[in-house]
Amino acid sequence: MKAFLEALTRTTAFRLARLNGLVFLALAAALVGYIYFATAGQINASADKDATREFNEIAWLSGETRYDALNQAIIERAAATRDYLYLLADSQGRRISGNISVLPDDRMPTDERLRTSFTYYVGAGKERAREARGFVGRVSGDRVLLVARDMGDAPSVIARAVQSVWIVGALALLISLAAGVLASRAATRRVDEFNVTARSVMRGDLRRRAKVTGADDEFDTLAKAMNAMLDEIERLIQAMRHAGDAIAHDLRSPLTRLRSQLESALSDADKPETARAAIEDSITEADSLLKTFSAIMRLSRMEAVDPRAFVDVDITALAHQMAELYEPVFEDVGVRFSYAIAPGLRTRGDGALLAQALVNLLDNAVKYGATGPEADLRAYRNDASEIVLSIRDGGPGVPAPDRERVKERFVRLDQSRSQPGAGLGLSLAAAVAQRHQGRLELADGLRNGDQPGLQVQLVLPTLAPLKEKRAPVDTPKIVQPKPAQPQPEPTNHPAAE
């Protein structure tokens, strides 16, 4: 029970309810204060005023006339009204006349007039307490005069009002605490559900999802977000498992080859030349395995690339560099290579990744396009204002049904089995495109007889340039209409520089 209370009082909902109750209590206190001063203060002030006037009248009488007249006046006034209480006493405080029997307190008044308030009782048998307030002072020599205004029921009415406000306040506090307990239990139940879901996912039940009640409240929003996150995690884990399987499958054959080469090197140990050749083959095999591993790691690291670290990348310059780098390579394999690169293409991105993607695509074009007569690289802005880096070759191409599949890791079409590589080049380029919120599109390329060729387009959105700190410019900006940029036709170029 104690633990339950502790857990309860820790919840946010309960803390809010408690705060709410305290605020309500403070309001009640303020209200009590206001009622008290607005009613009791008013009544007391008016009673004091009446008593003062009455006292002054009587005191004036005692000044003008004899003591008898004073006595007479008090007897008359006491008989005529119940609203005032009078008492005339001698210097010892003994009653001479008036409608109350004794001075309400033992204090003997000095010359000064003193304020007094007291309770008195009326009626025989069922005595009823009444409140009065007034003044006591000396008149006509050393006689004592008390004049007080009867307050009737006013004080108890005020007291009851104050009391009821306090009671309402206390009730409100209790009710708000109780409401807090209920609300916090409801909220805690929902939160507990989330905790249960999270824990079972942690224990490995990846299919578990948080319940969406349909109330469409903030908890539902949270549940939906949590479920979406879990869906993504599940998808990633599936993808990872798939990649793991693919890696295992794909690395088994080169490792097997490596092993048999080493084994034959061992058995040929007495024939140094043969053994040496086998060992050299093994090193080549190991190097290509390591290349595959590097590519896998590059792919994984891609996930960690932070788009916030992107910088301005000059795509035009990058494309020129790549074209220059690969032009002699195409020439070497007997392919006519041309390029057409529009000026002023810029976007935000990671220059090294984009260069890597282009290298992969150009490598592919060299490897698979060598059977065609020509290849080209084009860079331009399309109608949707996206930057397109297009590489076309005249090789065997990729049949339409396989075009999505070849972008996956380790997927190699049968016809490419004879070429070196691990089937990661396109998936790396696709990952780079995705990282830049772009895409990789495959289509037919430069047809060459019965070979359709391949076109690979790396499409990048033009990301907003980085915010630059600029001094305010006073001169009005002259806006020049930009001519529409036509898609440049590839030209056979002699030299780019």
Partner: protein
């Protein structure tokens, strides 16, 4: 030359030691960062080879402490596979070059020889000469035996790098890094193609070949 290798992996260390000694260098070993830093400070070495991940003190700290203590010996960082992103970090800490594992022994030897040569660079020159091949760095012209050779800008830079390291082996990766400033390896033989183009321009019409291919390693420009 005397090389200090700070490497905790025993197999790797003995591989390095053997490779260095086969190439005619002396090699001292340290198996952790603390020992390595002390040896580097006390000993008189021509090159430090430092692994990034070390017990007691990691490679980057070793080098930055060594540098802040006034050490000037060139440093080659080694990193495990997949740590290439840390290249900049290593260079900023005071490393002079960076090599990702695994690497061929020839690559390592080529790099430390270039590093060592760079240490005692002659004052800036305006002319480079290898045999009868001359390069004027100001006029950006190249002549061989008095005959002008036309080079494209990239070819000029490639030849300049080879001439500055004349007599030394430069690897394909080094060329890609230093001439093109790319830090990845293409599947195709991009560099070979560029080098053979350059070769056809400077060697084709001459009896003596200057640009040699070093099998399994790279290239060497030598008269």
């Amino acid at each position: 030359m005397r090389v200090l290798t700070i490497e905790d992996d025993r197999d790797m260390a003995s591989f390095l030691k053997r490779a260095l000694e086969e190439a005619g260098h002396e090699c001292d070993l340290a198996a952790d960062g603390e020992t390595g830093l002390n040896k580097a400070r006390d000993g008189d070495f021509d090159i430090l080879i430092v692994d990034r991940m070390l017990p007691l003190k990691d490679g980057v700290s070793v080098v930055s402490e060594y540098r802040s203590g006034g050490g000037t010996t060139p440093v080659l960082f080694l990193s495990a596979l997949g740590e290439v992103d840390h290249r900049l970090e290593g260079l900023q800490a005071g490393g002079d070059d960076y090599l990702a594992k695994p690497f061929a022994a020839t690559e390592l030897i080529a790099r430390i020889e270039v590093l060592h040569r760079r240490r005692d660079t002659p004052p800036p020159v305006t002319k480079l000469t290898v045999g009868d091949l001359e390069m004027d760095l100001l006029a950006r012209t190249v002549e061989r035996a008095g005959q002008k050779i036309d080079l494209q800008p990239r070819e000029f830079r490639l030849l300049e790098f080879l001439m500055r390291h004349a007599g030394q082996v430069v690897t394909r990766t080094m060329l890609l890094e230093k001439v093109w400033d790319y830090h990845f390896d293409p599947q195709t033989n991009v560099i070979d193609v560029h080098v053979s183009r350059l070769r056809s321009k400077i060697d084709k019409d001459f009896q003596e070949q200057l640009l040699h291919t070093v099998r399994g390693a790279g290239y060497r420009l030598q008269a």
